[in-house]
Symmetry: C2
Subunit: 255 residues, 2 copies
Amino acid sequence: MTPQPVPLSPPVRRADRARQVADVLRQQIHGGAFDHALPAESELAAEFTVSRNTIRDSLALLRDEGLIDRAPKVGTHVAQRKYEHGLDALRGLKETLRGHGEVRNEVRVATHVTPPPAVARRLHLSPGEQAVYIERLRYLGDLPLSLDLTYLVPDIGDPVIARDLESNDVFALIEQIAGGPLGSADLVLEAITADPHSAAALQMPEGGALLLLERLTRLEDGRPVDLEYIRLRGDRITMRGSLVRPSETSDWRLI
Amino acid sequence: MTPQPVPLSPPVRRADRARQVADVLRQQIHGGAFDHALPAESELAAEFTVSRNTIRDSLALLRDEGLIDRAPKVGTHVAQRKYEHGLDALRGLKETLRGHGEVRNEVRVATHVTPPPAVARRLHLSPGEQAVYIERLRYLGDLPLSLDLTYLVPDIGDPVIARDLESNDVFALIEQIAGGPLGSADLVLEAITADPHSAAALQMPEGGALLLLERLTRLEDGRPVDLEYIRLRGDRITMRGSLVRPSETSDWRLI
């Protein structure tokens, strides 16, 4: 804990500088700072006080992530905006993306299954008790956003699969059927690369990045009813939230 | 909204079944369900009521993610447990992983910079005003967990880089210097693949999955002081949190 002298800055390699620039540019693109076209390399070099070669390297990083397109004479363009999925609310994708376009669900499977014991335990089902299993590929416009595997307890799942799954969020259907709002959810988020079959389903490059979200959702009375495994295309979705510490308690609240 | 007949379950292809099994196994591994070795293929096939070929495919998916090792005669083993980083608290990595081992920071850069205008704006700095820039490679034991790029406002950053950055969380140092707890943070989480240089720094395969976290942190009075770009190894870290809707308000709270 003894105070140490400020370490001297070592010569920062170009790759490190390119990463610094790419991280700032990435968030500017997400935030809509550029109206489709990015500024010229020379302009970005001046703004970031780095060389044009560094700017080129950082744009190459963002191109490899699928965030921008680059072409001679045409310049650098935003390939696709990422959509924000709130970490802050138990909201379905359709409700989240209202205003960005139509969310359509391709229902790949909707059936009864005897779930694996680990799934049955989390949904408080007896061994051997059936669950409803739904598999959906979810589109915004023409492009897939996510592949969702959903296990539902039978008293909720049976009426859910009798409804229109193509144009409704499962959350909205559960709330209609339960007659009240959802209560809570446990989330686990991780980054994985897309295996060949998942990549093909999501129409994305094999090996591309996926956000994998496991979410166990409970009704207001605390009963777990919905266990989902959601693969979100890394190049199309960010998760966003805010943490605050309310002054009256020591709990953090996501707003 | 007209009720539809329950769609018939199409024949589920083996790749789809392998994905279903892998998703459940992955969370069992994270939760510590297996004591290093996974059950035999035949046992897993019985548990999941799928063929041994499907089990083999699902284990191949998890092996490709770096989660398990497989070898003839030796069987299937957990390659590395993933550590949970709470989405629920403004906690540094060292504080989060207390009990799992020692977090050590390799300080790659600690210096003054004129930040890019987009960074200056978010930290409420005047154009041209200097910030403190810190770049750290963070280890748990011998393995890197994350590469963190940090911009701090000068009145906080100057005393921070005079302290021991190798064994302290920046959050803890900010709270010591500010004389009070942090107030709030805005988070953006996304999945990207590791570029060659980031992969080399993090000692992970090129093209492997990274969780990229951008986090703007404020003091209790609301002033933004710390803007970070954090690359977390996808094969070593999960982000975990719980959402509840407190009955008295319509806000969601992360607990």
